[in-house]
């Protein structure tokens, strides 16, 4: 197990190194200077700016500086947002994104698991079909379309919740629902399949033969075992939360990381784009690693079969 984890961590570091390098060189390929919007700068001022940010150094030198600074935790300063250090910009903005992400994962997982379990217990009834239908909708409808429609019909027309911005718990309701749709659908689908499989297994028949109640069978025996593989959906979920955060924070005007990223893209703010990309990549890699390790820890069958490698 330790060897496996070490190997995976090495991979993780290598992947991140690739991402950091690729990000750096791709950004260098983009034509135009980051100061293009500041048209009022004179030629001399522009030169001073370019020298200050080291943009005239040979690319390998810039690259070396970038890697060294990165290891120190310094991601450079933003070109556009008043020279704020990128790391500070990120830490200021990560709060709303984290709250939104956590809420949508928790709520989405609870609803998704419930839908999946009910669908499996009432197989091929209208309840099952409804839950499958919701899952297909959640998987198919792009999250920004869903968010836009939600904002228009629920916030603007019905006025149940605030339309946008980030001023309190009620402001988080609609973005959380919009972001949770994918979580709901993917956990519901997965949960249903797992649950159907578990319900057909021998130990459930045995539990029934021993006279266990319906509740005992479905919760104590089936649900607990069916829940284990659901951990693997965390990987795709992390991706959907990232892409989702960009559009949903934009739609609802939430001052989070995603909104910052979109804004930086539109104004060519390289350091912020690079920093945020690397953060996204790092989060994703860590999530995948954690999922793989957790899976080995939680499921005893995997641990036993992999026992030789310990």
């Amino acid at each position: 197990m330790a060897k496996y984890i070490l190997q995976r961590v090495l991979y993780m570091i290598f992947t991140l190194f690739i991402v950091v390098s690729a990000t750096f060189f791709l950004m260098k390929l983009i034509p135009g200077t980051p100061f293009s919007s500041a048209a009022k700068l004179s030629h001399e001022q522009l030169q001073i700016m370019i020298d200050k940010y080291g943009l005239n150094d040979p690319i390998p030198v810039q690259y070396f500086h970038y890697i060294v600074n990165m290891l120190k935790g310094d991601l450079g300063v933003s070109f556009q947002f008043n020279n704020t250090p990128v790391s500070q910009l990120i830490s200021d903005r990560i709060g709303p994104s984290a709250i939104l992400g956590a809420q949508s994962i928790i709520i989405g997982a609870i609803i998704g698991i419930a839908l999946g379990v009910i669908g499996a217990l009432k197989q091929n009834t209208w309840i099952d079909y409804t839950s499958t239908f919701i899952a297909v909708l959640g998987k198919s409808i792009p999250n920004f379309v869903f968010a836009g429609l939600l904002q228009y019909y629920v916030a603007v027309k019905l006025e149940w919740f605030p339309v946008m911005f980030w001023k309190g718990p009620s402001y988080t309701v609609l973005p959380t629902i919009a972001l949770a749709m994918f979580t709901i659908s993917i956990t519901a689908r997965f949960m249903r399949t797992e649950m159907v499989e578990v319900l057909g297994s021998d130990y459930i028949t045995l539990a029934k033969a021993k006279g266990a109640s319906f509740f005992e069978i479905s919760v104590k025996h089936a649900l607990r075992n069916a829940l284990i593989p659901v951990i693997t959906v965390l990987g795709p979920l992390a991706v959907s939360l990232m892409t989702g955060s960009l559009v949903i924070e934009r739609i609802f005007g939430i001052p989070g990381l995603g909104e910052q990223f979109v804004k930086s893209i539109s104004v060519n703010d390289y350091p912020v784009i690079m920093g945020t990309s690397i953060l996204f990549a790092a989060l994703f890699v860590v999530v995948i690693l954690v999922v793989d390790i957790l899976y080995g820890i939680i499921d005893p069958r995997i641990r036993i079969s992999g026992g030789g490698s310990k």
Binding site: Y11, L29, F144, A238
Partner: protein, 342 residues
């Protein structure tokens, strides 16, 4: 069973004629893989309906821009921001095609009457007075085109990479798999966004950016299949007969895994449609006057409060496309490879 009093007498029976020729007769027509799969897909009503919806949408995407007298990029600012109005449906008030628009405060406006416009814009017009009907179908055309080509490139790269990796094996396989593992670890959001920033938005850059990361899952699936087939008798037979490696892979192995390849491609189409729309929505989509469903939704979103139809119509179309493709892909997966159910 129902009537116990019925007497079954011996003369009701009669010896059967033994015909050795007939005992070997195959009564059911023998079906090949595809006929069998089609029979199973046909039973899945959702997939069949989706198939028809998709065909209809493809036809509309091709014909739609021609059906209306207005061109998708023709501006007419005098006719800007009109609500949808369709001949015949305009008097049915509860349908959204009556040429009226209700403001946020519940006031009903009749822009066609107030501006004295005789024309019928079936889906309304946008902020520059361009016909939304033409734009929506033009956008559908572009979105489907991008998705189709992205999926095709994914398929070509993925199949070739996976087949080579699995077939050659050894060191090559191990290096190729390490590369895939690193690529899989990078979120495609980051790759696609960075690629579009470098390449500048356009149809071909979007297709390329989507293809860069999209092929990995196909490569993994194909590699696993090649490893499975590699030691089977038909491959050995082909080798003994002197078939080249290329012809073993492409003539003998690939046809055997066509089902899985098709399923994988079908799943990557909705994914590409989503990503194209997503890029448009964060400002990295096609440039004016070109339209894709994503840019239309993005434009409509900006004026959503005043003119909801500009966002709702493309939003509904993209949702229908996504649902249809997902259902077809699900149906195909169940029909072609029941083991792959997730």
């Amino acid at each position: 069973m129902t009537n116990k009093d019925t007497v079954i007498s011996k003369d009701m029976f009669q010896p059967a004629q033994m015909d050795l020729l007939k005992s070997e007769k195959i009564a059911k027509p023998s079906l090949n893989f595809w006929q069998d799969a089609w029979l199973r897909v046909r039973k899945n009503k959702a997939a069949v309906v989706s198939l028809f919806v998709t065909i209809l949408l493809v036809v509309m995407a091709l014909l739609g821009p021609i059906l209306t007298p207005y061109k998708y990029d023709k501006q007419n600012t005098a006719h800007a921001n009109l609500p949808p109005r369709i001949q015949g449906l305009e008097n049915i008030h509860w349908l959204p095609f009556d040429g009226t628009v209700t403001t946020r405060f519940g006031k009903e406006l009749h822009p066609y009457e107030t501006k004295q416009i005789k024309e019928y814009y079936w889906f309304g017009t946008d902020i520059l007075g361009r016909d939304q009907f033409a734009r929506v179908w033009k956008g559908t055309q572009v979105s489907l085109l991008i998705a189709f080509f992205a999926a095709l490139i994914d398929m070509l790269i993925g199949v070739t990479y996976g087949a080579i990796s699995g077939y050659v094996g050894g060191k090559v396989d191990s290096i190729m798999q390490r590369i895939v593992e690193v690529l899989v670890g990078i979120p495609n959001l980051v790759v696609v966004v960075l690629m579009i920033l470098v390449l500048k938005p356009g149809i071909i850059p979007i297709i390329l950016a989507l293809s860069i990361t999209g092929w990995t899952s196909m490569a993994r699936v194909v590699r696993a299949q090649v490893l499975k087939f590699k030691n089977q008798e038909f491959v050995l037979a082909a080798k003994t007969l002197g078939a080249s490696n290329g012809s073993i892979i492409f003539k003998h192995m690939i046809p055997n895994m066509m089902g899985i390849i098709i399923i994988n491609t079908m799943f990557s189409i909705p994914n590409a449609i989503f990503f194209e729309a997503f890029l448009s929505f964060i400002g990295l989509g096609l440039q004016e006057p070109n339209a894709s469903l994503g840019t239309l939704i993005n434009d409509g979103f900006k004026s959503m409060l005043a003119f909801p139809s500009q966002m709702v119509i493309p939003a509904v179309i993209i949702s229908i496309i996504m649902i249809a493709f997902n259902l077809i892909a699900d149906g195909l997966r169940d029909a072609l490879d029941p083991k792959m159910r997730d």
